[in-house]
Each structure stands twice: as C-alpha cells, then as structure tokens.
C-alpha cells in the first residue's frame, strides 16, 4: 500500500491551495489526486475574468488563476496524479483510487483533505414537467462544451435560475452569437453576484425575470420552447401569467450541490444546511485527520475565499500530522439565528487560538441590516451593511480575545438584525 502524509482529493482551486498551504506550513509528503486530465478543476472552463481580486489584487481569468497555484505546486515539486478517480475513502484514511496508468491503488494517509467540489442540480430534480428532449443543459455542462470542446449547444437560449454560472453563460452565449431571451429566477432575488447581474445581463439587455419559473418544456425531438409563468409568494405558478419563449437551448443554473459521496463513505458527518461536512474552526471534520475545504464544504461565491479556506485546511492538516494541531477542547456549536443560512464552521473549539472566520449566506435580501455575533448573551461582533443578499457570502472573523467567553458558553449565535420598519 502506498503511504503519504497528506492526501488531497481533487486538484481544483481548493485542492491546489490546500497543497500549497500544507507545503508552506512545512509538509513535504503530499499527494494530489484528480480525476480529470489536467489540474485546475472547474476553473479550466471559466475563461471569463474576475478571479483573484482579493488574492492577487488583479483580475484574472479562471485558467490564469488556477495557473498561479499550479506553478506553486510545480515549484514546490508537490506530486500529483491526474486521470485518477478516488472511489472509496475509509475512516482509517485509506483511499482507493483507479486510473488507466496505475490500475487500482490503495493509499494510506495520515491526513486527508477533501476538495471534491460540487455538482449542478439537474432538471430531473426540479420536477419541471414537459418533454424530456435534448437542448436542456446545466450551465456548467454547456460551458464545458463551448469553452473546452469548441462546440455550440444552440442559438436561442433561455436560462432558468440566476446562479453565477447561469449569468456568466448568458454573456458567453451572447458573445458566441446566440440570442439569450431571458434569465428566469424563481425567487424574488438572484442567487448570483450583483456584479454578474450587471456585467452579464444588464449590459446586454437580457431581461432578468424574478419570481418566474419554467412551467412546461416543449419539443419532442429537440427543444422548441419553454413556457414561463410568474410565481406567487408561495413560489407556485400563477395561472394566467404563462408566456411562451421559443428556444433551442435551456440552460439550468438552479443550484450547486457539494459532492460528498466520498466524505460520507469516510464516515464524515454532513451538515444539512450546507450539504457539506460539519467542521470546526480548523476545518477538521467529525473524523479526526480528515479536513474539508472549498465548494465540497460549502458553495462559495468567490474562488479567492476557496483558496484562503483551503490553504488553512492544508496548514492544519500538516499540524495534525505533526501532532501540533491544537486539540481545542470542547466543541461549542454555532447557532444560526435569524437570516443566517448554512454557516461554516458549525463548531468552535473552546480554546480556539487563532482568529476564527465565519462564512454564511444570508437567507434573503436585507437592507441596512446588521450581522451580529453573540456569546453568552453578549454581542461580541456587530457590523452594519447597506445590503445583504443570498448571492454574496458574509465573511467575518473574530480575534481570539473576543472569544474568551467560549469556555463557559453552550453555543455561539450568529444572526442578522433588520431595522424596524
């Protein structure tokens, strides 16, 4: 059986940064496994710019951003193996993987960092009625076809859902000569970044139909059109508001789901609110020595935060291998108060030594609202924002001195406070 100190599953932005983080913390026995032919993960097909503003203070394309980390991996001579699919991970941290070159291998690691990313929610899971014809793609699959394979899915496009990939693909398809008729969003707000709505829809005159959804799909042999209707506050279509859009392509951007199949095999506890692993502030999961970072932990808005999180996971994994990772004592649960959806971490150690970062998505759009953290009934953090929206993650961090009260606390509460009307 092969052995390694730190095994990183996934060579996308999280995996690359985890490797760099581990190396820079001192690790020298690291292995990255990736199922695709080349490192870089989903960034390979994200040829638009806007990456790296936080990390590198410049605007990079996805492949450029990935390349910065790939170059570090090469410089540090961190081994990686592509076209290798991990098919099992045990709680004892033995991974089983397969590849053309090496067949079936078992790799025993002292620490594992889960960096498998996420997948797109497909049409089937929405239960949208109608025909089951070709012409319906998740936005990411269409993006792969156009940006990596040089193949065009269609010319008359409707986009269902306003997640970031959908917005990006609205612009991309327009650049490629398609007509994007509308972007249809079930909720009264977009789940994408504001800047993408402006740069990808508004700049091209593509209407964003909020509180609308696709209620029927037409075309037996190939998509010919969709029926769109307005929805009420109960999110149910309002009869009489149906409108027909002829189109040959329907792109779906209706949600991303962390791919935690391997995490579950390893016995890692999954949090229902994020669909990712439950972790503490060190990004360690419920299985000692298994860490999780990036979109497999929770779906991020910006890759910069993925890198930051993964570097931390990498460094902590090395400390775990060294036996120097703080045990931290009792785990204090993080409670999600009003307006807070899917927070990470779910637990904070009572003896947390470093600053503790929290990330979450607001559950709705809130104006002039405050993000508040309470410990033992006392506010230890409060920050007012002009606007909070589900599309933009809230990222806050607390220095250890603010968290002294953890030792006596049953929980730590994060909530949003909206001004009274």
């Amino acid at each position: 059986m092969r052995k390694t100190d730190i095994l990183i599953i996934g060579g996308g932005p999280a995996g690359l940064a985890a490797a760099v983080g581990a190396y820079e913390a001192g690790a020298r026995d690291i292995l990255i496994l990736d199922r695709e032919e080349r490192l870089g993960g989903i960034l390979k097909q994200c040829i638009h710019n806007g990456f790296g503003l936080h990390t590198f203070k410049e605007e990079l394309t996805g492949p450029e951003y990935a390349q910065r980390f790939i170059e570090k991996v090469l410089e540090y001579q961190i081994p990686y193996q592509t076209e290798t699919m991990v098919i099992d991970v045990s709680p004892e941290k033995v991974a089983t993987c397969v590849s053309r070159q090496k067949g079936l291998e078992r790799i025993e690691a002292k620490a594992i960092i889960l960096c498998m990313g996420c997948r797109e929610r497909p049409r089937g899971s929405l239960g949208t009625p109608g025909e089951r014809c070709p012409g319906i793609f998740t936005a990411g699959t269409a993006q792969r076809f156009t940006n990596l394979e040089g193949l065009m899915p269609g010319k008359e496009v409707v986009i269902l859902g306003s997640g970031d990939i959908g917005l990006i693909m609205a612009r991309r398809m327009t650049f490629l000569g398609a007509k994007v008729h509308a972007c249809v969003e079930l909720m009264p707000y977009s789940s994408g970044l504001k800047r993408n709505i402006v740069q990808c829809l508004d700049d091209f005159g593509i209407p964003l139909l909020l509180s609308h959804t696709v209620v029927d799909i037409h075309g037996r042999e190939h998509l010919t059109g969709v029926t769109v209707a307005e929805v009420g506050p109960d999110l149910k279509p309002i009869p009489g508001t149906e409108k027909y859009f002829p189109c040959d392509t329907l792109l779906l951007s209706v949600g991303l789901i962390p791919e935690n199949e391997l995490s579950e095999m390893a016995g890692v506890k999954i949090a229902p609110t994020t669909s990712g692993a439950e972790v503490d502030e060190q990004l360690q999961t419920s299985v000692p020595g298994i860490f999780s970072a990036g979109n497999v932990l929770h779906v991020h808005d910006l890759v910069d935060f993925v890198s930051e999180e993964a570097m931390k996971a990498g460094a902590n994994a090395f400390r775990y291998v060294q036996g120097t990772l703080s045990k931290g004592g009792r785990k204090v649960p993080v409670q999600m108060g009003f307006g807070v959806g899917g927070i990470v971490p779910q637990f904070v150690s009572e003896n947390a030594e470093d600053k503790v970062s929290f990330m979450f998505r607001p559950r709705n759009v809130y104006r002039n609202a405050k993000v508040i953290v309470e410990l033992n009934g006392e506010q230890i953090y409060s920050k007012k924002s002009m606007i909070l929206a589900p599309g933009e993650m809230v990222n806050l961090s607390l220095p250890p001195e603010k968290l002294a009260g953890l030792k006596t606390a049953d929980s730590i509460l994060v909530r949003i406070e909206v001004p009274e009307a």
Binding site: V98, S99, Q101, L104, E120, G127, F137, T141, G150, H222
Partner: protein, 487 residues
C-alpha cells in the same frame, strides 16, 4: 434464390426481443424491425420494473396465465442472461379496515391463478415489522412472495443480444409502413428501410400493435395509450422499503406504487391517464402532483429534494382488457402480441415461448442444436470487488477511467455497450445499457465524454450524436472551423 425470412418481428420492445430469442432456439431466419433508433425505447423502458406475482389479473385471462408462467421463468433468465432480478416480495397495502374483503378477493384470485410462493394476508404488526417506514394509516396487506423486481432495459437488451448471437438480425430506424399478403401465402413487409418477404409476422408493436393488426385482420383492435408518470428518488433512500409497495385499489383509484429498483433507487408511480396521442410522453404538473399525493399514503414525507428525475410512459391498453395473442382467424401466420400492458414485462418470456411454439408448429421449424442460451452482462465496475477491479483494469485499462462519476461507470463499459450486438447508437442507449448518466447529476458531468466516445466508436461527428435518434441532436455546431477546435 429470393431472400425470404421465416419470421419478421415488428417492434424491438421487451416482447419483440423475447420472441426473437425464443425463435433462435429453432433453425430460423429471423429479422426484427424497430422503428426508433434503439430497442427498448417505448413501453419497455418506462414502466414499474416489477415482476408481478400474478394475483392481480382475473382468473382465466391471458394476463393471469402468462403472468404466472412468466414469473416462474425469471430465475433461469437471471442465470442464463445475467439480468438483475431480485425477489424482494410485493405487498398490497390497505389503508382502511374496510379494505379487508378486497384483500381477501385478491388473495383468492392469486390462489386461483396459481401464484407460486407465499401468498397471505399479514396484519398491521407484521406489516410494520417488515416495513417500518410504511405510512401511519396502513393497516394490513397482502404479502406476495413471488413478487420481484428486474431491470427492464437489461432484460430487453439481453434478449436481443442473445438472439443476435444466435443469428437473429436486427434493424433499427426501420418503421413498418405496410403489410401485404402475397399470392404464395407469404407476407410482404414494407418498411422505411426496404421491402421484405417473410413466411410469418409477429406484431409486437406496443401502442401501435392495433395499427398492424388492423392492416391484416377484420377482427379490429383498438389500443389507447394510457400514460403513467413517475418519480425516481435518490439511492440514499434505498432502504426505505424492502418490498414493492402497492396500494390496495379503492373506489378512489388504483393507487400508486413505491418500489425499490434493482439499481438502488426508489420508484414512485405511475398515474393512469388515457390520452389520444401515441407519442405524448410528456410529464405534466397535474400528473406528477397526483403521483406524489397518492404515494404519500405509503411514504409519508417523501423527500422531494431527493428526486433524481421524473418520466412518463405509455401502456398499450386494449379494449378487451386482456392481452390479444396469437393468430387472428382471418390472418394466418400473422401473430399478435397486442395490448401487452402490465403484467407484460413479467409475462414476456412466457408469451415469447408460446408465440414461438405456435410459429414453430405452423412453419415446421427444426430445433437449433447450436442455440447458446448464455449471454454475459457488460461487466459492471461498480459491482466488482477490489480484486476484480484490479484484474479488469489490468486486462483493459479503460476500466481505470471512470466516466460517469455518480454511478461509477467506466469507459470500458461504455465502449462495450456500443460494440455489442444491437449496441448503443445514442446517449440514451448508453444510459440504458450502462447507467452512465442515470445518477444524481443526470449526465451533467459525463455527457461531453460520452458524446466523444460515441462519435469515435460510430465514426461520426460529435454534431451527429443524438440523445435518442432522429432529430434529437445534442449540439448545434462547431465554434471554429471543423478540426481546429483543439489548436
């Protein structure tokens, strides 16, 4: 000498393919004509996948007879053709004490029909012991020991592959447009791919089987399509129910089924709606809502976020309520397998055996001493042990390349699905033969690679790759001049 077939089978569904295999036991020249791009592309691909015990049909009917006969043949089918079969039992659940007499009637009917295995009414206590997740109003059930589940695609493909191995010919995209009786007593079969002469015809055309019967016989048949809508639930919920959970039919309706599938998912459905259009396989908001509402008696709090997909299928419902099998009096050597709806899948091997015996008798066919009943399944990487996986990759490195992540389907399996006799020609064909694209992501990740492999194996451009033949192309064009995509 003129090219005359012994038998031409119209329709490549489960019955047509089963007949092709049974006929291969004789020395025959058999041709199967399938209208669409693939076998198993109509009723056979969209049904409950249940092996019915045989309690449901009225005693004395063909449905009752062939159901019980067919059910008993599946152990052998499993052995010979490596088709996934599980005898997980069926339960017909009553949700009201008033249902007891109806359960007794079903029990009595099952005994009369000669159902094999255990058949008895179980009380609430035993029901809940067997199925702890059954809905709170369930009060008793009929236990059907001979109830099972099967993979309907692999069953149809296995019949076809084994028939082809033994000499049967298959043509797809071959729609029959007319049938004529020739002066020599043979049939002339006119199709979109040419005109053929044959001694006998088997009509296994599913929802269109009335059309062919009515071309040659004055004993008219009418098939009206009855649409059923279904959900598939993530395999995470595989252990919710062990048996196929039927609902006892009441005045309110036939009820819907909640059943595990051999692939590990859970199936919910079907609704029953009579429609006019034989091609209308849409799902509808009303139908899906109805399926869910009815199923929620069996499975309270169905996890709607765990739906993988929805689909609909058409049953070939005839006006007699029973199967219509064999030669009409006025059309000798034309053999109907007409109005074969549920329990058609279970009955298929028995129907095929009976029909082929009829044909063999009439045509005086000789036994084929070379008939080989064994068909090996495409090796399923996901079901292999570690040692088997190691050996598989060593023998063929394509087993080391996982294409479908959700169902762990390798490139080797996909290539074999295309290369086999009566192999896959399109994306849906690969899906049915390997499960690539049937998992949680519903082909989001694997489609680009599957398109590439299909194009490579079939020697076509990616633009010519279809989802299910005809005009169902996936892609519209190249972004750059052809061949310059990978500069």
């Amino acid at each position: 000498m003129k090219n005359v077939y012994d038998v031409i089978i119209i329709g490549g569904g489960v019955v047509g393919c089963a007949v092709a295999r049974e006929l291969a036991r004789y020395r025959t020249k058999t041709l199967l004509l399938e209208k669409t791009n693939d076998i198993c592309n109509g009723q056979s691909k969209a049904n409950t996948a249940i092996l019915h015990g045989g309690y449901d049909a009225k005693p004395g009917t063909l449905k009752a007879k062939f159901n019980v006969l067919g059910n008993a043949m599946f152990d052998r089918i499993h052995e010979e053709l490596e088709v996934p079969v599980q005898w997980n039992t069926s339960l017909v659940v009553s949700f009201s004490k008033e249902g007891h007499p109806a359960l007794e009637r079903l029990l009595d009917q099952g005994i009369q029909n000669g159902c094999r295995g255990e058949l008895r009414i179980i009380d609430e206590q035993e029901l809940r012991r067997r199925e702890p997740n059954v809905g709170s109003t369930a009060c008793e059930a009929l236990l059907v020991g001979s109830g099972g589940i099967v993979c309907p695609y692999e069953l149809t493909e296995a019949y076809a592959e084994n028939a082809a191995m033994n000499g049967a010919q298959f043509l797809r995209n071959a729609g029959v447009t007319n049938l004529r009786r020739l002066p020599n007593g043979h049939w002339q079969v006119i199709s979109t791919v040419g005109t053929f002469e044959t001694r006998a015809v088997v009509n296994a055309a599913g929802v269109y089987s009335d059309v062919f019967n009515n071309m040659v016989s004055e004993r008219k048949v009418h098939i009206h399509p009855r649409r059923g809508e279904y959900y598939i639930v993530d395999k995470k919920y595989h252990n919710m129910f062990h048996a196929a959970m039927f609902q006892l039919p009441t005045k309110m309706g036939k009820g819907v089924l909640v059943a595990p599938t051999v692939d590990g998912t859970v199936l919910i459905g079907p609704t029953a709606e009579d429609i006019e259009d034989k091609e209308d396989k849409q799902t509808t908001a009303e139908g899906l809502a109805k399926a869910l509402q009815e199923a929620s008696r069996t499975w309270e709090n169905i996890p709607t976020r765990a739906f993988i997909t929805t689909f609909s299928g058409l049953r070939s419902t005839g006006d007699t309520g029973d199967f219509i099998l064999g030669e009409p009096e006025d059309a000798p050597l034309f053999f109907n397998c007409c109005a074969v709806e549920s329990p058609g899948l279970t009955s298929s091997p028995a129907i095929a055996k009976w029909i082929s015996e009829q044909i063999a008798g009439k045509l005086e066919l000789k036994e084929n001493p070379d008939f080989n009943p064994i068909r090996k399944a495409i090796p399923k990487f996901r079901e292999m042990t570690a040692a088997e996986r190691e050996a598989a990759i060593a023998a063929n490195p394509d087993f080391g390349k996982v294409v479908c992540r959700c169902e762990t389907v390798t490139e080797a399996e996909i290539r074999e699905a295309i290369r086999r006799p009566v192999g896959a020609l399109d994306i849906d064909g690969i899906k049915r033969r390997t499960r690539a694209g049937m998992g949680r992501c519903q082909a989001g990740f694997c489609t680009p690679r599957t398109v590439e492999i299909l194009a490579e194996e079939l020697g076509i451009s990616p633009l010519e790759v279809t989802k299910f033949g005809g005009g169902s192309r996936l892609l519209e064009g190249y972004l750059f001049e052809e061949g310059k995509n990978h500069a």
